[in-house]
Subunit: 244 residues, 2 copies
DNA sequence: AAATATATTTAGATTTGTCTAAAATAAATT
DNA sequence: AATTTATTTTAGACAAATCTAAATATATTT
C-alpha cells in the first residue's frame, strides 16, 4: 500500500515520540509536526481506519505492528539518504536533515536497497543513529549521555540527541563528531558543566566544515583545542558508548 | 518560488510538447498526463495566474521565459538522477524513468549541483538526452532517425524517441544502446524495415541486462548478432549522429 | 452558410489535508 | 466534590487538484 507524504510524516513522528515516551498525546504530536491539535485528531482517525494505529478517543495512541513497520522503512530511507549526502556528496552533518526529509518519501523499494548496497550497508547515519536493515530490524546500542559518563572513563561519541543545526554547529566548532574519543576530566557542581578531554585523530585535526550560503560554499577552520568545556544542556544531548 | 509536484508535472509536460510541436493544445496535454481536459483547463488558469504560461482561451498555449526556466530545471534533475541510477546504482536504462519521476521533484538546488559534480558533470542521460547545465542551458545536437540515415553511412546512436520499457527491452535484446556504432546495410521498400550492421565493442558483447522482479535481480544474456532487422516503427525512434 | 462534429471551458461535486471556533472530556486545584 | 484549567474532539469552512456533465466555441462537412 502507498501512503501520502503527510501520512508518512505523521507515522514517522508518532514512531519517534512513542520510542521516547510510550503512549503519544495529541498535543505532543501537534507540537512535533508544527500543526494544530484538531488536524492531528483528523489524521488519527484516518490512520486508525487504515489500521496503522491503536487509538481510543481521549486516551492517547501508538502505532501497531503494521504502523511500526512503515515507520521503520521511512527511518531507514531517511538515514541512508543522510549517509549518502554526507559520504558521497560531502554535505556537512548539519545540512542534510531537510533534504533527507524530502528524499525519505521516494517510494521505490529497489532504490533503497540498491542505495544501501552502493553505500556498503552502513550501520548508522552521520549523527550516529542506527539504520534499520531491509527487514526493518533496528540494532539499538547501549549508550549514556555525557552527564552520566563516569569521570576519567574513555568513551566514544555514538549519537546526538538534539540535532538542530545550532547544536551541530556548536559541536563541529568544538571538534566533536560521531566517533570522537573523549574523557570527562572534571564536573563542576555549580552549573553541571563539564571539562572534556578530546583524543583527536590526525583526520579530525585537519577537518574543515563546509557550509552553503546562498549557493556559495564557505570553508571554516575549526577549533582544535584538546580540552573543551561543555554545558549541561549540551552534555545531555551527547551520547557515548564505552567498554564494560 | 516553490511549486507543487502536480504543477511541476504540468510544466514539464508542456515543455516537452512545445519542443516537439510549438503551440500545445488542451487535449494533447490531457493525453500526455493521462488526465481529463477539464482538469488541464483548471491548471492552465493557475499557471497563467502565476505567469508561467502564455495562454488565451481556445487558442492553445506555451510556456513563457519563466516557465521554460522551471521546466529546464526539472528536466535537469530528472536526467541527472537517471544517470545516477544507471551509473552508480546499476539499474537498467529501462528501469529508471519512474524513479526519476519522483526524484525530479526534490527541491534542494545545492543537492542537484553536488549530484552533478559527483557524477562528473555528465552531458547526457542514459537514453542519450542532453542534460541542461545549472544555468538551464541545453545543448541540442543535430541528429536524424534511422530511416533518414543514408545507406552504408557509419553513425552512432545518440538518443531514443519512445522510451517505453517495451522499446528499451527490444533495443537491449538486439544489443543497441546509446553510443552503439552502426550502419544501415539495406532498406526494404515493402515495409520500410532496415537491415543494420552493428559494430559491437568488446564491452557491449559482454553486457548483460539486469531486471528486478519482485525484489530479485535477474540477469539476462543478450543477443549478439552483428546484423539485425529493425522495423519502421523502431527505426523512427532511434536517433543517430554522423560525420559531415 | 448551415449542420454536424470536435475541442475546450464552465459549473458544480469530491477528496485530502488543513484551519478556527466551539463543545466535550479529563486533569488539577481549591 | 465542585470548580477551574487544560486537553482533545467535533463541526463547519477552505484551498488544491481532480472529476463528470453540460455549455460554449471552433473546425469540418455537406
Amino acid at each position: 500500500m502507498k501512503y501520502s507524504t503527510s501520512k508518512e510524516n505523521y507515522v514517522k513522528a508518532i514512531f519517534h515520540l512513542q520510542e521516547a515516551h510510550g503512549l503519544v498525546t495529541t498535543n505532543a504530536l501537534a507540537n512535533e509536526l508544527q500543526t494544530r491539535a484538531a488536524s492531528v485528531t483528523d489524521m488519527l482517525k484516518k490512520l486508525k481506519n487504515q489500521k496503522l494505529l491503536i487509538y481510543e478517543k481521549y486516551k492517547g495512541f501508538k502505532l501497531n505492528q503494521e504502523g511500526r513497520k512503515i515507520a521503520l522503512q521511512i527511518v531507514r530511507k531517511h538515514r541512508l539518504w543522510e549517509y549518502f549526502l554526507v559520504e558521497k556528496l560531502h554535505f556537512g552533518w548539519d545540512e542534510v536533515h531537510e533534504i533527507a526529509e524530502e528524499l525519505e518519501h521516494i517510494s521505490s523499494v529497489a532504490l533503497v536497497d540498491r542505495l544501501d548496497e552502493f553505500l556498503g550497508f552502513p550501520k548508522s547515519d552521520p549523527h550516529g543513529d542506527p539504520i534499520p536493515d531491509s527487514q526493518g530490524k533496528l540494532i539499538a546500542r547501549v549508550q549514556v549521555d555525557l552527564l552520566q559518563l563516569p569521570i576519567k572513563k574513555s568513551a566514544r561519541v555514538s549519537s546526538i540527541g538534539d540535532q538542530s543545526p545550532e547544536m551541530l554547529e556548536l559541536l563541529t566548532h568544538k571538534n566533536i563528531g560521531i566517533g570522537t574519543k573523549l574523557e570527562v576530566q572534571k564536573k563542576f557542581m555549580f552549573d553541571n558543566s563539564l571539562e572534556v578531554k578530546l583524543e583527536l585523530s590526525g583526520k579530525e585535526m585537519k577537518t574543515v566544515q563546509s557550509e552553503t550560503d546562498g549557493g556559495k560554499t564557505i570553508k571554516k577552520q575549526m577549533n582544535n583545542r584538546p580540552l573543551v568545556t561543555i554545558s549541561e544542556h549540551v552534555a545531555k544531548n551527547v551520547f557515548v558508548t564505552y567498554e564494560e
